[in-house]
Symmetry: C2
Subunit: 315 residues, 2 copies
């Protein structure tokens, strides 16, 4: 008997998911949701973002949320940090990890972060110097599989930015398919190179389901040896360039698939589905996740009454 | 330069998709849709079903549809046939192929076809004898990856029913994941055995996206050598045991993925997406397919005006 291979999930719904929701979600709901997710067995939870409250009013309660959540043993509580001021707030809030973000596409970085990539890099360098190894740092690189405005993003560009951060001693890189442009063959090719190039780093893959390929891309990444994924409860999140399409890979759907395939996700799927089923009530609308609606593969249904009658009739 | 590997798609929206739609779809719309699909490059289209008009009123116009569609060269027009009477009607309508169906799960067969599997087999044997090799026959086996009422379906059961039909000289078998219970590891394992056992038959895989794994299962099947798939435009179809969940694998999403990966699907994706975008108007509701909403990977977007300003500012 061989041990099941361990896959680590980082839940991003309360940050990446919530930040594009139109109506403010009460702090109590955020704290309760993070606490419920803590009980499910996640390796990591991206709780909130220490951005300017003006830029993202939804996450203006970052300090309060971080102060009120229960810290479950074994779960890392990470936060998004855009700059030095954010890093100071994150450290005061005792975040277990700082997640920095910039895009490998110049146009996307300008559109999304309102500065050229070099300016972003300089700001993140300030953060890394300030943290000075006292707290682990992860860097999420957006648009690694393509940019919705520039189109193709060459692998060398992903490697170039990855290496600049690796050289600064970050613990991990998250390779983001920010707008759901990745396909499985591309994932396999890229992951192979990334794993060789960044063998000492925690490599996390972040997919969107914009074009329906989210779980196929997770599968391709797992087949190529990736063990860390971002997921968003209910598939919350999305991107402004693909209106009508669904958002981040749904955590519970990805976990359900890998669980069925025999991987050890560390997640209690029953608990997770119970939490996922509360989500539409929290955000006030239907969410894309499917396993919460359809049930797990082996959640069976009673046969219709006619079956017993027919069995008798044909006996 | 190596030739791209060919993948063959069978479009089932006008049969498998339409038959669970609540409101009757006018015959003119059905004919126009099949004709539009014929221009997209499908290998096969399952046009309609020669069932009793009382059982499935939606498809009561089967003869008229088959009589009025334009037969495009290179496209096979197949029809579902439940029994001898259906076979006679199908042959009169000059179907290129008869698709027979039964379930490998006794309970599902009783619930869905209202008779034990042996009775179904006997009825389909009548059809096969009647057709007598004059028209190719495909057999779709339901619930090959699990039954929503019985649970697990053992591989031997799939093989046993497949072999009974193979022994009768059918041209192909469609291995159906009727209620979206398959996962990629199971698909890989099963496909390997099926391809050895039925090396001389056309093997088609029919997936549902009930639990979000549709494209991941297509990927696993393609990786294991499968070259034929059923798909449903817009992801129409579904199953009564998974309310709220999505239906068949979406043709255009699966084709888009395989196309991006470098497979030759024979499909003109631009034309197909144009047809897919008409579908909500035909059925009167939103459909699950995502590429029709989000556009193809390389359907790029113009940057916001701020990007040009920022470029200047930081120049």
């Amino acid at each position: 008997m061989t041990a099941k291979k361990r896959i680590f999930f980082n839940e991003v719904a309360t940050r990446d998911g919530f930040q594009i929701e139109p109506g403010f979600i009460p702090t109590d709901d955020k704290v309760a949701l993070v606490d419920a997710l803590s009980d499910c067995g996640y390796a990591k939870i991206e709780v909130t973002s220490f951005t300017s409250p003006k830029a993202i009013p939804m996450l203006r309660d970052a300090e309060e949320v971080m102060g009120r959540i229960r810290r479950a043993p074994g779960v890392e509580y990470t936060v998004l940090v855009p700059n030095l001021r954010g890093a100071e707030r994150a450290l005061e809030s005792r975040a277990d990890e700082l997640n920095l973000v910039m895009s490998v596409s110049e146009t996307h970085n300008l559109a999304n972060l309102r500065m050229p990539r070099e300016k972003s890099f300089a700001a993140l360098l300030d953060v890394i110097c300030h943290v000075d190894g006292k707290t682990p740092i992860n860097v999420s690189l957006s648009c690694c599989f393509g940019c919705p405005m520039e189109g193709e993003v060459v692998l060398d560009e992903v490697l170039r930015w990855g290496e600049r951060f690796a050289g600064l001693g970050v613990r991990g890189l998250t390779i983001c398919d920010t707008t759901g442009m990745a396909h499985p063959a591309q994932v396999s090719r890229m992951v192979e190179v990334l794993q060789q190039r960044f063998a000492d780093l925690q490599l996390t893959l972040h997919f969107h389901n914009t074009r329906g390929m989210g779980l196929a891309n997770v599968l391709a990444a797992v087949q190529s040896g990736i063990t860390r994924f971002d997921g968003s409860l209910g598939g919350l999140g999305g991107c402004p360039y693909a209106p009508g399409a669904s958002g981040n890979v749904t955590s519970e759907d990805a976990i359900h698939m890998l669980d069925a395939m025999g991987y050890d996700t560390g997640i209690d799927l029953s608990k997770l589905l119970a939490v996922a089923r509360q989500l539409p009530g929290i955000v006030g609308h239907d969410v894309p996740g499917q396993v919460a609606k359809a049930g797990r593969i082996m959640d069976l249904h009673a046969p219709p009454a006619s079956v017993a009658e027919l069995r008798e009739q044909f006996a």
